[in-house]
Subunit: 587 residues, 2 copies
């Protein structure tokens, strides 16, 4: 290829360096998704970052804070991204920190008609780079993001409302793990078909038919990432990296309240792409002004061939129905159930559940909502416990966990939006309140809305229970639901998952029969099950490289993070075949 | 599992035998999809079948004919399939042989409300069997189909209109290859995640967090196969076996004109399932009466979670838009292009193209339609050839190939429907006819409609060319299109693939620059390219285990046969995790 030889040459040099640097990590990630044993290259401890730390060249806590502060109240330039200066372009500033901190950052709001053609133009060279170089470039992007984990922690905290430690961990290393997992899956699938094959079909006494075949992984087209408010990086990175690694440009449309974490990601990705000799426009940011709702327009553009979305069921369903020119991956709302049948660690169970309900004020798509408890009570290592005792003891456990305001703030974080605040404030209208939500003062951010979780008692037989149990009540509100028996609980679980979907199911039981009933229900309805968690692992947390997030087989999500199906249809394999004697044309 | 131990035990015995029998073939198929070199376990030669033949226990030519004749004019019972006897059930007879042979076979037209729940009930035991046993059962079904290849040949011939030899090969071994390829892909993807994992996360000085995890591949639900008229088995088997192998029951809704090949398949599958200890209702047939159009009702049933469809773009688009509770795989219409730039084997090119246009009267989704030829002519090993010469020489080549009526009948087969006959008869209305279609008498079947292909001249600049080039003209009508240059041809190719889709692209060129232009266009628009075919391989034929059929990346089809994406989303992985110290409950 004479015309592109110079570019290709310099790219190859840089690409070779990146590949050499990241190949061992890629191989280790590939091994992790095969064994699904514990692994992570991204440290969780805040002290692992900073000069002379485990993460080379990373920002320390103080440097991360300073970098974040420097961004506030300014224009977030993305060098070279087209479409912002023209008459249809502009800038947008829509973030409101749940902690009340003034953000005041302006982001590019590009003219899509200018931007999208530039993104498409960047595809051929990215395709020609091949799966290994694309993976190496993605891992370099992740490495640079990792080095700025402290900066991202503040960005995630002040957009999602997560407490600092959670923002650092879930928004930093855990999100980076999920991104790397997607890169590993994407790489593995692209190299499953060989680059070339010599095909020789016997023809009896005649000469065999002989063809040379070449197979190339080609991206589908521009991939649209529609970000969410609560986990902008954790929920965004799988689709972002899966699409980029499979040869697709990625247009990032962040949630208007959570732009910064993804804007930083876009800027870092463009830097790396440029340095590696590729077009920066393989990754771009499209912020929007208040109320514009540009996702609807973007999602149905013919250039958009993949959509990744996390958010409401209503818009997810709309995307699935309307963005038919694209492959649409959605994570929508679900209703998560915990069945409490019996336990040999009553205290451990209560503590584990209390933490699950409290973490990030229940604002996780994986937080349990319906706690199904037999009305005749349960057997435990601390004796038989009546329904009322179980509910009261759980309320006490939550109260103890959050009794100290400093600890409460560290676990709860802030309420992400006025809608969630209203929901918890009106919890009493849903039934008898077994545990009341209380406001907590934040010592550093007086403007933060912090609330402890509410637990509401419901009678499964009553119509109001039906209404409450069968709709997602996103935020710190859970229902203790009295059921006739564990079998009834399983029947209710089945119906809930089938009709409303579920990201998680939890259960506590010492009975093999009950365990089998619950497992069978989860297999039949396709839901991920955590059994008897009483220690430091919670039903609402999943670990990349090992746990699947969602199943992709019930209404809560049409994809799981991360599996083969999440990556395999983001690229297609184009075959060129020719008679074996005719070698491909050479210059 | 006390309650199912007896069944599981007897299944295990039979399953173990099947696994032992078929594991070597499965391993060989897995190797074939990795290397994509030539391989097939199903012989193409009619004489390979029969007693004392390579295929153990197979029907000879005479036995196959007799078996087919015995089916005609009778009721095709499917033992034990529920829903036919009830008030909403019944029988349907809709086949019309394109050769004029009286078929008169009645098939079950079940009450879906009775049938579907029985199919769902069969899922848990099929899921519990695991990927290897499911693969072995599928390979046993294929082995029994293979043994009856001669019977299938007649069934395919008298429903599709294919000539006998093609019906035997494409409807027999080639279809069986595609089915086995799907089984291999399905098996490989299901075992990619381990069955169990021990997860241990270090916690500094504290004890590590430890979980035992189990991963189970679970089918999505009932899979609906909507069969096509022209290739009932070849186009049906990939989806049928991919779904069954991944744990899903399969409901087969054949095309009303091509029921028998799939009805035989269903009956054989049910026999094997029963013998292996599984529910026969994992596979069922739903025939329909004239004009009922039950596919529309079936496709949107909540029990249906997967749809495989081959047919018109209109209904394929409808399925994609409406069957949103299901994962929908479609192969629709496309417009296939051949670019003729230059050749070093003019005679070989003409012969190859003549055969491609003639095979099965052009009634293949892969038959070339638009032949783009520079108006200033082309360079060949036989000197410069003007546009008119190329078209005239191609017409002569077709004439020679089909000059002998016996050979013409053996290549052309019969016209599948009155719609196709009308299309070829009105070809002259589309432009100047360069090669006229002629009727051919069939010595054995005087009722057969046999037609040679027509070639119509078009001027790319004229509006009527635009209309003709941009719509699929299914059947023996092709267009010779005069273009300004090869670059113009490539531009037209790009537009055609992007707007209308293509299952195949062919090109002839000796110019490296032209070759690169064409390859780049196929990469950009995601189309499968055959270059310089002049021998015994044709652009409209693909070989299982090596070639991809369609790309899944342009409007002609949203999936390719067969790749990872075709199987990976037919099952989901359900994870059950629990603290490591608590072993799963045992009886």
């Amino acid at each position: 290829m004479t015309t592109t030889a110079t570019t290709a040459g310099s790219t190859a040099l840089s690409a070779a360096r990146l590949t050499e640097k990241h190949r061992p990590t890629l191989d280790r990630a590939l091994e992790a998704i095969r064994s699904r044993e514990y692994w992570s290259p991204h440290p969780e401890h805040p002290k692992a970052y900073g000069e002379e730390s485990a993460v080379a060249g990373s920002l320390s806590a103080g440097q991360g804070q300073a970098a974040f502060d420097a961004l506030r109240g300014s224009r977030f330039e993305i060098e070279g991204q087209p479409g912002t200066a023209g008459p249809q372009g502009g800038w947008a500033s829509t973030e409101v920190s749940p902690y009340g901190l003034e953000m005041g950052i302006e982001y590019p709001r590009p003219d899509i008609d200018v931007l999208l053609p530039e993104m498409r133009k960047a595809m051929p060279a990215w395709r020609a780079a091949g799966p290994e170089v694309r993976a190496a470039v993605c891992l370099e992007i992740l490495a640079r993001i990792s080095a700025r984990t402290h900066e991202f922690a503040h960005a995630v905290m002040h957009t999602s409302g997560q407490a600092f430690m959670m923002a650092l961990q879930a928004g930093g290393p855990h999100a980076q793990d999920r991104g790397m997992e997607a890169v590993a899956y994407a790489y593995a699938e692209q190299v499953r078909t060989p680059e070339t094959a010599a095909w020789s079909k016997p023809q009896g006494k005649r000469d065999p038919l002989e063809l040379d075949k070449r197979f190339t992984a080609v991206g589908r087209g521009v991939s649209l990432l529609i970000g969410c408010n609560t986990f902008p990086t954790w929920n965004g990175y799988p689709g972002f990296f899966a699409s980029l690694a499979t040869g697709n440009p990625v247009l990032v449309k962040p949630h208007p309240r959570a732009v910064l974490p993804l804007a930083l990601t876009v800027r870092i990705a463009r830097e790396v792409l440029t340095e590696a000799g590729f077009e920066a426009n393989l990754v771009a940011l499209a912020a929007e002004r208040e109320g514009e709702g540009i996702a609807k327009d973007l999602a149905v553009r013919p250039e958009i061939r993949i959509v990744d979305y996390t958010g409401s069921t209503a818009f997810g369903d709309w995307l699935e129905a309307n963005a038919r020119q694209a492959r649409v991956f959605t994570e929508k709302a679900g209703v998560n159930t915990v069945i409490i049948d019996s336990t040999d660690d009553y205290k451990g169970m209560l503590g584990n559940l209390a933490f699950s309900l409290s973490l990030y004020s229940g604002q996780m798509c994986t937080t349990p909502q319906n706690l199904l408890i037999p009305r005749n009570g349960i057997s435990t290592d601390a004796g038989e416990k009546s329904y009322d005792e179980v509910v009261a003891d759980l309320a006490t456990a939550v109260g103890k966990l959050l009794g100290d305001d400093a600890r409460a703030n560290a676990i709860l974080g802030a309420i992400v939006s006025p809608q969630v605040r209203e929901r918890v404030e009106s919890a009493a209208s849903l039934g008898e309140v077994a545990l009341e939500s209380r406001p907590v003062e934040h010592p550093d951010f007086p403007g933060a809305t912090v609330r402890t979780p509410a637990v509401v008692n419901l009678e499964s037989a009553k119509p109001e229970a039906e209404a409450a149990c069968f709709s997602e009540c996103f935020g710190p509100v859970s229902f203790a639901v009295a059921v006739d028996s564990t079998a009834d609980a399983v029947a209710l679980l089945r119906r809930t998952v089938r009709e409303k979907g579920a990201m998680t199911v939890g259960a506590y039981t010492t009975s093999p029969a009950a365990e089998r009933l619950i497992e069978d229900a989860c297999m039949d309805e396709c839901a991920q099950l955590s059994l008897n968690l009483t220690g430091g692992v919670y039903v609402n947390q999943t670990a990349a490289f090992s746990d699947f997030h969602g199943s992709g087989g019930n209404p809560a999500a049409n994809a799981a993070l991360c599996d083969v199906a999440f990556v395999a249809d983001r690229f297609r394999t184009v075959e060129v075949r020719r008679p074996a004697e005719s070698a491909p044309a050479q210059d």
